[in-house]
Amino acid sequence: MRPKYHFYSTVRVLKSGFVNLFRNLWLTIAATAVMLVALTIISLGVVLNVTANNAIDVLSKELKTGVFLNDDVPVEKRNELESALRSLDFVENVDYISPNEAQRRLTENPIIGNDVLQAESIFEGEDFLAASFEVSLSDLSRAQELANLAESEQFNEVVKRVALGKTDTGDQTDAEKAIERAAATERFITISSIISAGTLAAVSIMIIFNTIRMAIYTRRDEISIMKLIGATPNYIRGPFLVEASLYGVIAGILANSIVYTLVYSLGAKVAEAPEFSETYSYFTEPTTITLMLLSSITLGVLIGALSSMLAMERHLKLKHW
């Protein structure tokens, strides 16, 4: 076949697929609606996962581990400990906080202020004025490994104690709990969005399968004539594939519109918070918007194409010509 003929055939297949979309309008609406819900849940799942992940990252960086030192530790011993801490692959940064620096921070604290005696009463038994290393971790779940190293025999004379999850404000417990909650929420979002999106994707595959099956049935006479007068399998199948893929395109565009309506309306309200600001600006970048739209459309087209291929494989046996 000449290339010009291929062009005309392709155009006709596309046109026919587009026309088919309107032949069974209610079935088209039903198939697109279910796919829309599935794609919206998948996209929202992605947005929420990224948001939760970024929030955990930000919170993790704020949550520092304190390694408190004994009084009068020689500089070389202190440096040895610092090197050992830095050698751990999950340690992002190590800052030495001298007793003077610790005191300065304490006096700058808006809650405690200059009243060191008040501070002593608040942090009774704590080492808030001892020299320490303030360690930032990239993976908070490995903090215990750091503690094991610092409390090992080797640094017995150097380290007084290790405080996991120390923050600049000293509010250890709340920060740790916040991270745990965020991590649990992230896991919940991941699992629930996978389950619901998977279920809805399966439902939309079944509905589109049925839609295409009915379209094949109503056009069976036309298909048999096409076969007898020399149409190729691709020419016959093409319109059904285009029709189902168009469901995916429409559903993908609508799903992305819904997700971005939510991102702009709800996201704007929390964008001021440090743990969400980066995520909000990431999702509102033109590149991300385009990527999200294309991914949504691609997934929709894949679901549509898969369903129509299954229907054609079962009800349009072109192998038996």
């Binding site: 076949m1 000449r2 010009k4 003929y5 291929h6 062009f7 005309y8 055939s9 006709r12 006479d221 036309e222 048999s224 004539i225 096409m226 076969k227 007898l228 007068i229 020399g230 149409a231 190729t232 399998p233 020419y235 192998k319 010509w321």
Partner: protein, 229 residues
């Protein structure tokens, strides 16, 4: 043009639909195949359009050996053979023009070429002025002429007409036969199946008679022999 060598087709254990048929049709010939219902005429034509595969034997059409024909080549074979059916097989939601153009669209012909080609064929089958009519606005004879136009618009070397006059009254049946003769005169080999005695007798063409799946008569210019059939 067409060669069948000891072709047998068996559908079930009741016996073959056609059995060891030998047939040779020359280029530009007009052959009438006659036989009662169930004699095997339609099976024979289905073997030629490759709707059915023979159980045994050799079929060669237009130089194509069907034994070597791959499934994916069947559409291209059918583009070389025009087919006309007793029940017309027209698309009811398309006009006369669109029905004929459809045969050109599926092979990828451009719109301008189609607009140029279709009117000539409409003229050939005598349907000028009916281009915009839908099949249900036409008589049986006119519908069959649309079907012939669709079959010949790609200028096939062979035209197979399976009982094209079966549903028509004598006047319309003759209109269709005249069109087939005209197509044959343009150089197309025509294979016509019928059991219309009047058509066979007046046509004065080669007649192949089939009974119980076997060729029982093959005469160069014969009439309809009731006893043989």
């Amino acid at each position: 043009m067409i060669l069948l060598d000891r072709v047998t087709k068996t559908y079930n254990k009741k016996g073959p639909a056609i059995e060891r048929i030998n047939l040779h049709v020359e280029n530009k010939e007009f052959v009438v195949i006659v036989g009662q219902s169930g004699a095997g005429k339609s099976t024979l034509l289905k073997l030629l359009t490759r709707e059915e595969k023979p159980t045994s034997g050799k079929i060669i059409v237009g130089g194509i050996d069907y034994e070597r024909l791959r499934d994916r080549d069947i559409p291209y074979l059918r583009r070389k053979i025009g087919t006309v059916f007793q029940d017309f097989k027209l698309l009811p939601n398309k006009t006369v023009f669109e029905n004929i153009a459809f045969a050109l669209e599926i092979v990828g012909m451009g719109n301008r070429e189609i607009r140029h080609t279709v009117p000539k064929v409409i003229d050939l089958v005598g349907l000028k002025g009916k281009e915009d009519n839908y099949p249900n606005e036409l008589s049986g004879g006119e519908r069959q002429r649309v079907a012939i136009a669709r079959a010949v618009v790609r200028q096939p070397k062979i035209l197979i007409a399976d009982e094209p006059t079966g549903n028509l009254d004598p006047k319309h049946a003759w209109d269709v036969i005249r069109v087939l003769e005209k197509v044959n005169k343009h150089g197309t080999t025509v294979l016509l199946t019928t059991h219309n005695m009047d058509i066979v007798n007046k046509l004065k063409r080669r007649v192949v008679t089939i009974r119980d799946g076997k060729v029982v008569g093959d005469r160069a210019s014969a009439g309809y022999n009731k006893q043989v059939v």
